[in-house]
């Protein structure tokens, strides 16, 4: 087995161009499960861990650039968590400490599981992904990057370099239901991001469709029913928002849960997430 351990992004892209069949290895928390189960039998590996560039983050104006190699533990660091609290909340729900120390945002994005925990948050933040190959670079909206369960627009020889999201949306939240209190795959999850300045609510759901889904009709409906000066919604708005979000979910029955419960759970989570993010807006407006 050929293993290359590039130190720069260009080296990594060249290594991948050299061996387009190579398995890209970041934290290995998805791929090694596949290898151990005999689902994958790699003959070549390009390991990304030594590519510093992928493991950094930076702020450019009101945009935050998150290197694809950032681990969940990195996302929990206070300065990052302050800018994208929901992403830190999502990171905290992932696996156990060893998994959070190894698993990366890029791996979560490339795996593109409907239950991937960073995906609803990034989707609600309208994340853009920087992709690169020896052919060149391109930027793709996460919304179109995710094409189906474990399917993406990523091309052979291409790497996810970074995700870019707004750095100035403090009112955001991630909530995830699993059947155990830790180390559990989401049965249903919801991310809500409120931009009080422009009066917009974004909502995304996980584990209730082939990909994480946005809830555009609910988002539109709710935006006009909040007093953006105070952050206070009209009576009954949060409950109705929950119902509308659930209507936009497309869950299935499987061995982890039922469609009926998943729809119910996103309804409850969306209502609770809206209530608490708006409470945050209200506190900020009052201050």
């Amino acid at each position: 087995m050929d293993v290359s351990v590039p130190r720069t992004l260009d080296e990594a892209l060249a290594a991948l161009a050299d061996r387009p069949d190579a398995m890209v290895l970041a934290g290995g928390t998805d791929v090694m499960v596949g290898v151990n189960a005999g689902r994958q039998t790699p003959t070549a590996v390009v390991a990304l861990r030594a590519v510093e560039e992928l493991r950094t983050w930076s702020v450019d104006g009101d945009r935050l650039r998150l290197g694809a190699g950032l681990t969940y533990a990195d996302l929990l660091a206070p300065d990052l968590a302050a800018m994208v609290p929901a992403l830190a909340q999502a990171a905290r729900t992932v696996g156990s400490p060893p998994i959070r120390n190894a698993g990366t945002v890029g791996g979560n994005l490339a795996t593109a599981s409907p239950a991937g925990d960073t995906l609803p948050v990034l989707l609600a933040l309208d994340a853009e992904l920087d992709l690169a190959s020896v052919e060149g670079r391109r930027t793709v909206a996460l919304r179109s990057f995710l094409t189906g369960p474990k399917r993406t627009q990523l091309r052979t020889g291409e790497l996810i370099v970074a995700a870019r999201v707004p750095a100035t949306r403090p009112h955001q939240e991630y909530r995830k239901v699993g059947v155990r209190n830790a180390m559990v795959i989401a049965v249903a999850s919801v991310a809500v991001v409120v931009d009080a300045d422009v009066g917009v609510v974004a909502c995304a759901m996980g584990s209730v469709g082939p990909t994480p889904l946005r809830a555009p009709r609910a988002e539109e409906w709710v935006a006009g029913r909040i007093d953006w000066g105070t952050g206070v919604p009209d009576a009954g708005v949060a409950a109705e928002f929950g119902r509308l979000v659930a209507e936009e979910s497309r869950p299935i029955d499987d061995h982890r849960s039922t469609a009926a419960y998943r729809r119910h759970a996103v309804e409850v989570l969306a209502r609770r997430a809206l209530e608490s993010t708006l409470a945050g807006v209200a506190r900020a407006e009052a201050a």
Partner: protein, 770 residues
């Protein structure tokens, strides 16, 4: 942790030596503890032999099929593949089985469950073996699987032995007696897995005598040996088993799994062969806890006195018999719980289906019925307007009372005491407003106002040791030279701490601190029986005690003859041989120095008292001894999402006598964890007989964030007839913990939960389609 002071008298008189560290009653350190914690302990999966091959097993993906043909040619053609074996290559008995030989070593013509072995290969590398499996061509004719036990009861036989493993009827008392208060319910228990950490593993080495040496992780070496020898067409002495390092068992290693396959591969290739199951294969390769559907009806006087009890218990045994016959007995005999029930009619059924085979798991039938009878007790309390704990106290069984089988309880069974001691334990603090301690924890599902707290209570009991006339025994040997004792017994150490106990017994009886425990194996030792049924402390502990007592007597006789006194004048006190008070001469010699270079050896077989079979009405003195425990559960629930957080389990357990208090606590906490699992998450999900979640990604077991605080009282009322007065402690913790948690969730939510594990939708969508 709180612990009640020991009460009652110590066990067998004259066996308690003072002054030797690490004896009985102390929390002596485990000899395997340090290596396990440091990662140095060799589990069976770590076995290695030079030149060994790797074995792998082909399993049916279908739950029911006829095999039209098997073509192993393409697998044999792969470089590095040494051999492929199928049913046609089994030289001896085609079938094996723990009690009856009804399970094929390899399916020959019919497949009865998804996961059934079809063939095995040996190759130079695990990866080659995997490819070889993929190259074997099996032509299946699919059959509709029968997965509902009720349909199997009336349907075509799935096996020449038919579809009913056992139908046991218990008729007790007056069949017409009824009380004015009536409560009825139907309860369901999902399929729990033992989920031990160390998957099945073994190493077989062909021997020059045409036999085979097998190192394997198991619960019962000799029973395995007999089955393996039968299937290989060898004499039992040609098959020599040694215990490999066992990473947990809980009943799942009572049955033969890879044993015959691996020996066959070794004998065919003339080379050592190693097999280690993957996690997925482990879930398919061992038996599970029987899923059950249980109907019960109780009638009572308005004051809560139980008048009559009826039950119909249907246990899904899956494709093969394993221990279903005796699980049915346990479920039926203990169906009413630890309560005085004068009149009863119980129908217990174990049924064959095309689901995965079920057999022994910690609690062995008592777990399933406890969930049902404790649900009934709460209903009865409500119907009578009595506090549920008071109702249980009012009906609690005690010494001198009778079981449903008519057997009089002639030993200890302090049911009322475990109830009272449990209730006396402190309740936890009010819900802490802290994210990680709420239901949903880090998932941030639940804010403090969404949390409801509930408290539930349950009591359970079961028998200790094998029953119904089984002639049980265990052999142990002891050698003492210059103060170093070596104890040997074929009892399987599966993590429960038998090796520690064996040392403690030898220290106490012989007055020596240095005790070695020799490997458990079949070549030089007789059977110790299975490490199950909470029996090894009693049976093999008893055998070790007797062997050590015999050695002690030899030592004292030897010393007496050299001193010219009577052996009766001497005793062992602490680490010394002393003259008894009032003896003519004054002796004080260290045991180590008492007989330089002289070895003392003894070998003893221990038997418990005789039990009897059950008669046609399910009556008879079938059980050796009983143990009980009570659990009080405190839970926090988010009713809207159906998420549960178990906050505390309080438990008092009837232990007879705690020979190693820390080990007892370990059993209690571990059993509670499995009870939490069954209550809230653990279930093998089947679809048309196929396991959908054969992985730790999807078969969920409790994590540290799911495990509650456990507060404990050990109730010590020594059991007459038991070595040292000690009762087995492994099973009671898993019996009533589950129903206590469910009762607490019912209390928090008002939802009448009748199924475990509780799924979030069972609470959240209780009144809607789920």
């Amino acid at each position: 942790m709180t612990m009640a002071p020991p009460t009652g008298t110590p066990g067998t008189p004259g066996t308690t030596a003072r002054g030797v560290a690490g004896g009985l009653g102390e929390s002596a350190r485990r000899p395997d503890g340090g290596p396990k914690v440091r990662g140095e302990f060799a589990f069976a999966g770590d076995l290695w032999a030079d030149g060994m091959l790797w074995g792998a097993t082909l399993r049916s993906p279908h739950a029911a099929a006829r095999i039209r043909s098997i073509d192993v040619g393409p697998a044999l053609a792969i470089a590095g593949v040494a051999t492929v074996v199928t049913a046609a290559d089994v030289p001896g008995s085609a079938n094996y089985g723990l009690e009856e030989r009804d399970q094929p070593v390899f399916a020959a013509d019919v497949v009865r469950y998804a996961g059934e072995p079809i063939a095995a290969v040996a190759a130079d590398h695990p990866e080659t073996a995997r490819r070889a499996l993929a190259a074997i061509v099996v032509d299946y004719e699919l059959l509709p699987p029968v997965t509902d036990p009720e349909l199997a009861l009336t349907g075509e036989p799935l096996h020449p032995d038919g579809n009913v493993f056992r139908h046991l009827t218990i008729r007790h008392g007056d069949p017409t007696a009824r009380g004015p208060v009536v409560v009825e319910g139907t309860y369901e228990i999902g399929m729990q897995d033992q989920a031990f950490m160390g998957p099945e593993a073994g190493l077989a080495v062909p021997a020059e005598d045409g036999g085979v040496d097998l190192v394997v992780s198991t619960q019962w070496l000799h029973n395995d040996r007999d089955q393996v020898a039968e299937c290989l067409g060898l004499r039992p002495d040609q098959v020599r088993l040694t215990l490999g390092g066992v990473g947990g068992a809980f009943g799942a290693r009572e049955d033969v799994s890879l044993h015959v396959h691996i020996c066959l591969l070794a004998l065919r290739t003339g080379r050592p062969v190693k097999v280690v199951y993957s996690r997925e294969e482990s879930f398919l390769g061992h038996v599970h806890r029987h899923p059950a559907r249980i109907w019960m009806r109780h009638t009572a006087e308005p004051d809560g006195t139980i008048v009559s009890f009826e039950a119909r218990i249907v246990l899904d045994g899956g494709a093969y018999r394993s221990s279903s016959y005796h699980v049915v007995a346990n479920a039926s005999c203990f169906a009413a719980g630890p309560y005085r029930v004068p009149n009863a009619h119980v129908e217990g059924l174990g049924v064959r289906t095309n689901n995965p085979p079920c057999g022994a798991m910690r609690g062995f039938g008592a777990v399933q019925v406890c969930f049902a009878h404790e649900g009934q007790m709460d209903k009865l309390a409500a119907a009578c307007g009595i506090d549920p704990v008071e109702l249980r106290l009012h009906n609690a069984l005690d010494h001198g009372d009778h079981l449903l089988t008519g057997q009089r309880i002639d030993g200890t069974l302090p049911v009322a005491r475990v109830i009272r001691e449990t209730m006396a334990l402190p309740l936890p603090e009010p819900a802490a407003d802290e994210l990680l301690s709420r239901p949903g924890a880090a998932g941030r599902t639940t804010d403090a106002p969404h949390v409801r707290r509930g408290i539930g209570f349950a009591v359970g009991f079961k028998n200790l040791m094998y029953a119904e006339g089984y002639m049980d025994g265990s052999e142990a040997a002891c050698v003492l030279v210059d103060g170093l004792a070596t104890v040997q017994c074929a009892a399987a150490e599966v993590g429960q701490g038998f090796v520690t106990l064996a040392q403690q017994i030898a220290r106490t009886v012989l007055g020596v601190e240095r005790v070695l425990v020799a490997p458990a194996e079949t070549a030089s030792m007789g059977s110790a029986g299975s490490t199950s049924a909470s029996r090894q402390t009693w049976m093999s502990g008893g055998a070790v005690e007797q062997a050590c007592l015999a050695v002690r007597d030899q030592l004292l006789a030897h010393v007496a003859s050299t001193l010219g006194c009577a052996a009766a004048d001497l005793e062992i006190v602490g680490g010394a041989i002393r003259s008894v008070p009032g003896a003519a001469l004054d002796v004080d010699i260290a045991v180590e120095d008492a007989a330089p270079g002289v070895p003392f050896e003894a070998r003893r077989v221990f038997h418990h008292r005789v039990t009897l079979p059950l008669d046609a009405d399910g009556q008879g003195d079938a059980h050796v001894s009983m143990a009980c425990a009570a659990h009080r559960a405190v839970v926090d629930v988010d009713p809207e999402l159906g998420l549960v957080r178990v906050v505390q389990l309080a438990t008092a357990q009837d232990v007879g006598r705690a020979l190693n208090p820390l080990s007892v606590l370990g059993q209690i906490e571990g059993g509670c964890a499995q009870g939490v699992g069954l209550a809230t998450m653990e279930e093998l999900v089947l679809e048309a007989g196929k396991v959908r979640n054969a992985s730790f990604t999807d078969y969920l077991i409790p994590t540290a964030l799911d495990m509650p605080e456990v507060v404990t009282t050990l109730v010590e009322e020594p059991e007459p007839g038991a070595p040292f007065g000690a009762k087995g402690v492994g099973e009671p913790p898993v019996i009533s913990s589950t129903p206590a948690i469910v009762a607490a969730v019912r209390a928090a939510t008002g939802v009448d939960l009748t199924r475990v594990p509780i799924r979030p939708q069972d609470v959240a969508l209780a009144d809607r389609p789920r």
